[in-house]
């Protein structure tokens, strides 16, 4: 009897202890603060020259600015930002920018052309992750100083080593972190051992953007305060906070309850569960990269075009896109992203086991063969790989799945030590065919020693001189119609050669936001701005 009493007291006191907590739980976020829940695992630095991954772009796109930006609704439209106007030279090797006068950095220092020069030169000379984009255009540590010319305080020239479509350069300047403009006066005060202030800029901001980094606790929270003197006008949100949250269901509950305003990185199941909920809305934005199945042409099986063609017809594109890809991607089979003038209609590849078997037989693999598929151990990659494994098996190709982290999967790809990979990539932050083809198909030197690890064409050991020539020629073609024709030719050649990277789906990112949030427009090039966001309360 006494023991029963003791148990009852224990239970009652636990409940009582919990009850005072009831009144502390508050649901709505403040009207003037934007709270975002997302994984901060890839936010390792906020130095624009060293940024990796796209998650940190949410921060640097709002603490810094570029000379130009791309319209979020029509990403091929270039809008003025820190530059008011620009002109292109006829030879396609120079862009002259007229800079906006009267802009001040968050520090109060005036923005001038020397800040632009310092920022761009810094990116190339530091030679961190963002330098790769510049180097593909021919910039390097030795020539960058001479190619970026300060004409006067508000005029700057960017010369390119080779003739290039100026739109391509502009798109890169608008969408890559390495082109963001740093307050050089402030940054120079924090230089240590000629590091270009790298150590300091890891965790501090020195930009002209609408927000400034107040505090960053790695994998915990980042707090950005409003720049009250922002040249476009004071942003409505006085604070933007990003909280590290990786568990999809926790994100779902928090955004549903209104404890966060924006939830990024939800699983498709949780996104779908929230569709139709009146408290939230799902914003979907198409990106420029693709989910693909890649084959290594170092592997004897895949050196044979018939085998690659067989594999191309052993993918259930419709099934994958209808059942696995909703909210992850949309059906797309071309190497150039959707909606560009140069993009050809879909070639219409489909699952055709009989055709694939015939091709395998012609290649001498009547009974199939064994291979491996490396894949990230997360959705939708694993589901795509599982589906592909099943359809490959119908033609006798036994594919073992090797799961791993991004590090392990793409690491093996960079080392050319793989047979097949289900991955995501293909460039495409810039709305230009070159951005995709450079990533997927360009390979000027196929030797192992060349180590062109930034080109997926090299990683898959795919090399075609004809393809390389078209890509280079098109990148330097000033006439738009001629350029379109060249890119269409490239796509036809890609099909004809049966290039080893077969796109399956173009990437779509889904973000869940509170229904009262206005003017939040996720950007297809990851440069999402918070300056106009407000809450309709």
């Amino acid at each position: 009897m006494r023991n029963k009493k003791t148990l009852a007291v224990l239970i009652a006191s636990t409940l009582l202890a919990a009850s005072p907590i009831m009144s502390t739980a508050e649901a709505a976020t403040p009207k003037d603060q934007l709270i975002i829940g997302m994984s901060m695992n890839n936010m390792l630095t906020f130095d624009p020259a060293a940024l990796t991954g796209n998650d940190a772009m949410d921060v640097v796109s709002n603490t810094y600015e570029a000379l130009i930006e791309l319209d979020a609704k029509d990403k091929s439209k270039i809008l003025p930002a820190l530059a008011e106007s620009w002109t292109y030279s006829d030879d396609g090797k120079k862009i002259t920018f007229k800079l906006r006068k009267g802009v001040k950095f968050q520090s109060g220092n005036p923005f001038t052309a020397k800040d632009v020069a310092w920022s761009w030169v810094r990116t190339v000379k530091l030679n961190m992750s963002q330098a790769s984009y510049w180097k593909t255009y021919g910039f390097n540590k030795d020539n960058i100083d001479s190619l970026v010319k300060v004409i006067d305080d508000y005029t700057i020239e960017l010369n390119t080593p080779d003739r290039l479509d100026p739109k391509l350069v502009m798109y890169s300047l608008a969408s890559s972190a390495g082109a963001l403009i740093i307050d050089s006066e402030l940054a120079k005060q924090h230089i240590v051992n000629d590091d270009y202030a790298r150590d300091w800029l890891n965790a501090h901001s020195a930009g002209s953007g609408p927000y400034t980094i107040k505090q960053w606790r790695i994998n915990d929270v980042i707090i950005m305060n409003r720049n009250d003197d922002y040249w476009r006008g004071e942003p409505k949100m006085r604070r933007v906070m990003i909280r590290h949250m990786t568990e999809s269901q926790s994100l779902r509950l928090m955004v549903k309850q209104g404890d966060i305003d924006i939830a990024k990185g939800l699983s498709v199941a949780d996104v779908n569960a929230l569709k139709g909920d009146e408290d939230v809305k799902v914003e979907e934005v198409q990106k420029g990269n693709v989910y693909y199945l890649a084959m290594s042409m170092k592997d004897p099986h895949f050196q044979d075009k018939n085998v690659r063609n067989a594999v191309r017809h052993l993918i259930d594109y419709k099934g994958i896109n209808d059942t696995i890809m909703p909210s992850y991607g949309i059906y797309h089979q071309r190497p150039i992203q959707l909606s560009l003038p140069a993009t050809l209609p879909e070639p219409g590849y489909k699952l055709d086991v009989d055709m694939a078997k015939a091709m395998l037989s012609e290649a001498g693999y009547k009974d199939g063969f064994k291979t491996t598929i490396r894949v990230l151990a997360e959705p939708p990659f694993l589901q795509i790989a599982t589906a592909v494994q099943a359809t490959l098996a119908e033609a006798g190709i036994e594919a073992e799945l090797l799961t791993g982290t991004g590090n392990q999967v793409y690491g093996a790809m960079r080392e050319r030590k793989f047979e097949m990979i289900v991955g995501r990539g293909g460039g495409g932050a810039e709305p230009h065919p070159h951005a995709n083809l450079r990533s997927l198909a360009y390979n000027p030197d196929n030797r192992d020693e060349a180590r062109l690890t930034n080109f997926q064409g090299w990683r898959t050991s795919f090399q075609s001189d004809e393809m390389n020539n078209i890509i280079v020629e098109a990148a330097g073609e000033m006439d738009e119609q001629k350029q379109i024709k060249l890119y269409q030719q490239a796509q036809e050649l890609y099909d004809e050669l049966v290039a080893p990277i077969q796109p399956i789906s173009q990437v779509v990112e889904s973000v869940v936001v509170r229904s009262d949030l206005r003017d939040y427009v996720p950007h297809p090039s990851y440069t999402t701005h918070f300056r106009d966001v407000y809450k309709a309360r």
Binding site: M22, A25, M128, S132, Q257, N407
Partner: protein, 344 residues
């Protein structure tokens, strides 16, 4: 007086042996972790430069991290730095590992301490109760609760807890240590948010922190309660079958006196070991609860560093975990002497 000198020498020798054992244990741990890190198929350079970096950039960072040096040289450099109390810099963020651990450890200590208080405070009485009710309904209920608590994945409990107590009932705060608009209001003196907010007199922050802490602490506590109650029951049953218990009952002692005054007193030492181990495990292994509740703690930091191949951070964490377990064992050893005069 003549005997005091050899006694002091004996004590000093014992302390010396203990310290040597600790140092060898920690060095062994670090060496093993170092070797594992070097053969693990995880590339920290890729995590820093991204999968699309060119080879030149990759090699630049590779050399900056010292990975181009022979393994034995990397090891010597690391141990040398360690002897100067330098845990190095995290490869991913470039920040000192010691600072990063100092930032994340208090969050886990706070969570783990509350959890172990709940786990022990509930687990021990439940275990004693179950032992006293052996074969009866009370015993079955406790055993089922214990089995459930130990068998059901803790992250499931976490998500269900959030759904019921946060989303449906609104009784507790959601993920995170505190409501976001309170973040940064309290200067982190100890890193323990409850303590810091109380010291600063920020009672709204205190209440918010408590509302965020209670659910993950209860869930983590329940998980350890399951284990502690089972072990307590086992130990108690072993004691209750002893003759001295029969004697005590025959002498007319109350049930309460028999259970708590006699039987329980003889299992305190064993329970101490169990509780110490449970606490240590919580401090280094609460990663699932930290993930579900977005708790910026040690478990997440260690797991994240491991998956990225950030071996400086991992080794720093291994060192801390080793020191935690060693410290807990030393405290347990000291408390043995309090609870069991025979060990003095």
């Amino acid at each position: 007086m003549v005997n005091a000198i050899p006694l002091r020498m004996d004590n000093l020798a014992a302390v010396g042996r203990k310290l040597a054992t600790i140092a060898i244990t920690l060095l062994g741990l670090l060496t093993l972790t170092f070797l594992i890190g070097r053969v693990m198929p995880v590339d920290p350079v890729l995590s820093i430069v991204g999968p699309d970096a060119d080879h030149e950039t990759y090699m630049q960072v590779y050399k900056q991290l010292g990975l181009d040096l022979p393994i034995w040289k990397q090891y010597i450099i690391y141990v040398n730095d360690l002897l100067h109390l330098d845990l190095g810099r995290a490869a991913m963020t470039g920040q000192p590992v010691a600072e990063e651990i100092a930032r994340v450890l208090p969050a886990t200590v706070e969570l783990g301490t509350f959890a172990i208080i709940i786990g022990t405070g509930c687990g021990i009485p439940l275990g004693v109760y179950a032992a006293s009710q052996r074969g009866r309904m009370g015993d079955y209920i406790v055993r089922v609760m214990s089995l459930t608590g130990y068998s059901v994945p803790i992250f499931w409990f976490g998500m269900m807890g959030l759904l019921i107590f946060y989303a449906w009932l609104g009784w507790v705060g959601g993920a995170g240590r505190v409501d976001l608009y309170f973040d940064g209001l309290v200067e982190p003196k100890t890193g323990l948010l409850l303590l810091d907010s109380a010291m600063a007199g920020e009672w709204e922050v205190f209440r918010s922190a408590l509302s965020h802490l209670i659910l993950p602490a209860c869930i983590l506590g329940m998980h350890s309660m399951a284990y502690i109650s089972r072990m307590t029951r086992s130990f108690m049953l072993a004691q209750l079958s002893q003759e001295y218990i029969i004697t005590a009952r025959v002498k007319g002692l109350s049930s309460r006196a028999v259970l708590w005054g006699h039987a329980f007193m003889n299992i305190r030492v064993q329970l101490l070991t169990i509780v110490a181990l449970a606490y240590g495990t919580m401090l280094e292994g609460a990663v699932l609860i930290e993930t579900v509740f977005a708790w910026p703690g040690f478990g997440q930091y260690l797991t994240h560093s491991l998956l990225r191949g950030d071996m400086n951070a991992v080794m720093g964490c291994v060192l801390i975990v080793g020191m935690i377990f060693i410290t807990l064992n030393l405290i347990a050893d000291a408390l043995y002497k309090v609870f069991d005069p025979r060990t003095r």
